[in-house]
């Protein structure tokens, strides 16, 4: 059974390469373009990991992560963010995440991080 990964980012170019970098390693990928559709997707099925942006037009990444944690407590969360000062935020807001990557990140870093958390 391939591991299932949800990629949540409003930037298409980011979803695009993350998806392809992981798909070529045998992961099964689902995409969400914003916070609300990420929650809808998680309601429908189980994911092994969610790769989630923090700054999205509808919901704050922190809120999305909190809801995902309730919905799918087993899913590992990797935060991807373009803003360094956001790194501290999930921790400060009491949201625990398994990993984070600062944009721009390479495909090698991404694959390593994912292997480490699941």
């Amino acid at each position: 059974m391939p591991k299932k990964i949800l990629v949540v980012d409003d930037e298409e170019i980011v979803r695009n390469y993350v998806k392809r970098a992981l798909a070529s390693r045998g992961y099964e990928i689902a995409e969400a373009v914003n916070g609300a559709s990420a929650i809808t997707a998680a309601e429908k099925e189980e994911f092994d990991a969610v790769i989630c942006d923090l700054k999205m037009p509808d919901l704050r990444g922190e809120e999305v992560i909190k809801k995902l944690k309730v919905l799918r407590p087993a899913a590992k969360i990797i935060v991807i963010t373009g803003s360094v000062s956001n790194i501290a935020n999930p921790i400060a807001t009491g949201v625990e995440v398994e990993g984070f990557l600062i944009k721009p990140f390479g495909i090698g870093e991404l694959r390593e991080m994912l292997e480490k958390v699941i």
């Binding site: 373009g82 360094v84 000062s85 721009p104 990140f105």
Partner: protein
């Protein structure tokens, strides 16, 4: 005040008026006349006069009333009252109303000349005073001082000698001195007088007669044309800052008691004005610091937002490049091109990271920090690089420095930036001297410790010295520096309520000085 003095003669007796006019014209003054008080008031409001010589009893408007009106129009104008009907009473009355002096008709022409000359001298003195206090730029002020002091004291040459930061005297401005040999002889005399004053204490005026015959100065050449030298020491809050030297070259033309009085007043005016100019300079510096801080903060916010916007597409470029690289055979041109793109992205990432660390608005983690230890820790990080570049580190740490309240990490970043810059300024090796000094008060009375990093590199040209803290300003080759290192340092020092400044002399290296409150 080099123009011909303009004098208004006011008398209803045409004969007297003409007589005074002719006498004064023969002395080179510019003359105008009026025949009653009202005419006089009209003339003064139409053009500028230096002096009014006026009768008291005149038709239409009397002299004392006219003087009141004239002083309202031009408070700086001097008035001499001339009266044939005068009793001591009217004379006293006119003096009380603000006349400079009075003369009784009939008067000797020489008497008139003396009074007029005195009045004009006072007027000139007032003008200088006004000029001194109307300018706040110290160079302009000093130029006015030196230009006028030669004239007022009827001297042949005058010079302003100031002490530089190393307490060495230099000629800031001179008047009547063209020849370098004479200049340096005067400077030597002034330097010796300053040294003595610094040791023995302040004196308002120092007089030297025939300095070339004085054994204290006998060894100085090119001094024989100075007959009488007067020195006015200049003081500021910090102590002696220099002196004004006024020289006369004719024998017998010694400085009189009157000259001394004038000079003393002059000296105290200049002292006061220098203080003003200094305060103004401090104000300007504070203002420019504020503006700089504002600029930084605005730029910081912009940078934060910008970085986030750029990082998304940049992440895409990096990821997609690497994806394509995976399926491209190594050794091909495409593989090489993609590798170059990847490298360029990493460079962008580095720039943005520095930009963000400069922009970071989050709370600084303050704790008591030992400065010497922080420097040592930083040196551990870059010791190897320094060794490779043949750079010697000299440590001059002050003893038992107090701890400062600071963010250890951020201070390390500042030190590392300064050390890296110093290293890059010395591609062929050199010395970095790191000094720390115990607390001393800053202009606001805060106790600040000082840390300085001096290199022996090429130095920073004067014209760009005040731009080195500007974001994105760099002298390093393209791709070598982000131009953010020193802005980051400035940002960090601002957050610590400290200061950072740069000094440099071409060919002699640069010194970066940090001041941190204890």
């Amino acid at each position: 005040m080099n123009h011909k003095a303009k004098i208004l003669i006011v008398d209803d007796d045409a004969q007297i008026s003409e007589m005074i006019s002719e006498a004064l014209m023969s002395k080179g003054y510019e003359i105008s006349d009026a025949f009653d008080g009202k005419q006089a008031v009209a003339k003064v409001s139409a053009e500028k006069f230096d002096l009014v010589v006026m009768d008291i009893q005149m038709p239409v408007m009397d002299g004392i009333t006219a003087m009141g009106e004239i002083k309202k129009i031009d408070p700086a104008i001097e008035v001499i009252i001339a009266t044939g009907h005068g009793t001591m009473g009217t004379a006293v009355q006119s003096m009380r109303k603000g006349a400079f002096d009075y003369i009784h008709k009939p008067f000797e022409i020489t008497e008139l000349f003396t009074v007029v000359e005195k009045a004009l001298a006072k007027r000139k003195f007032n003008d200088i005073t006004k000029a001194i206090f109307s300018t706040i730029k110290s160079e302009e002020l000093l130029r006015i001082v030196i230009d006028s002091v030669t004239g007022v004291l009827k001297a042949d040459e005058s010079l302003l000698v100031l002490l530089d930061k190393a307490e060495r005297p230099y000629i800031a401005i001179s008047d009547g001195l063209e020849d370098d040999q004479r200049k340096s002889s005067r400077l030597e005399v002034c330097g010796r007088v300053l040294k003595r004053l610094a040791a023995d204490g302040f004196e308002p005026v120092v007089l030297i007669e025939d300095p070339s015959g004085d054994k204290r100065f006998a060894d100085i050449k090119h001094l024989s044309d100075v007959q009488f030298a007067m020195m006015l020491p200049l003081m500021e809050t910090g102590g002696l800052i220099g002196l004004i030297n006024i020289n006369r070259s004719q024998p017998e033309e010694y400085f009189s008691e009157n000259d001394l009085q004038k000079a003393k007043i002059f000296g105290s005016l200049v002292n006061l004005a220098l203080k003003n100019a200094n305060l103004y300079k401090q104000l300007q510096e504070t203002q420019s610091q504020l503006i700089q801080a504002e600029k930084m903060s605005a730029l910081g916010q912009l940078a934060g937002g910008l970085a986030h916007e750029i990082n998304n597409p940049l992440s895409g470029i990096l990821g997609l490049t690497q994806l394509v690289l995976e399926t491209t055979p190594p050794g091909t041109q495409t593989h090489q091109d993609l590798t170059d793109i990847e490298k360029a992205v990493f460079r962008c990432k580095k720039i943005i990271t520095s930009l963000l660390s400069f922009a970071r608005q989050e709370k600084t983690q303050m704790e008591p920090v030992n400065i010497s230890e922080t420097i040592e820790e930083t040196l551990v990080l870059c010791a190897r690089q320094m060794e490779l570049k043949h750079i010697k580190i000299v440590k001059r740490f002050g003893e038992s420095l107090p701890l400062v309240n600071a963010d250890f990490q951020q201070l390390m970043q500042v030190f590392l930036n300064l050390l890296t810059n110093a290293k890059d300024a010395m591609p062929d090796g050199g010395t970095i001297t790191i000094s720390t000094l115990p607390p001393s008060p800053d202009p606001d009375g805060r106790r600040m410790i000082t840390v300085s990093f001096a290199d022996t590199g090429a130095g920073i040209p004067r014209e760009i010295l005040d731009r080195v803290f500007d974001p994105f300003f760099t002298t390093k080759p393209a791709g070598k520096g982000t131009g953010l290192g020193l802005s980051v340092c400035l940002g960090i020092l601002n957050r610590h309520n400290g200061t950072i400044s740069a000094e440099s002399e071409a060919g002699k290296g640069s010194v970066f000085t940090l001041r941190l409150p204890v």
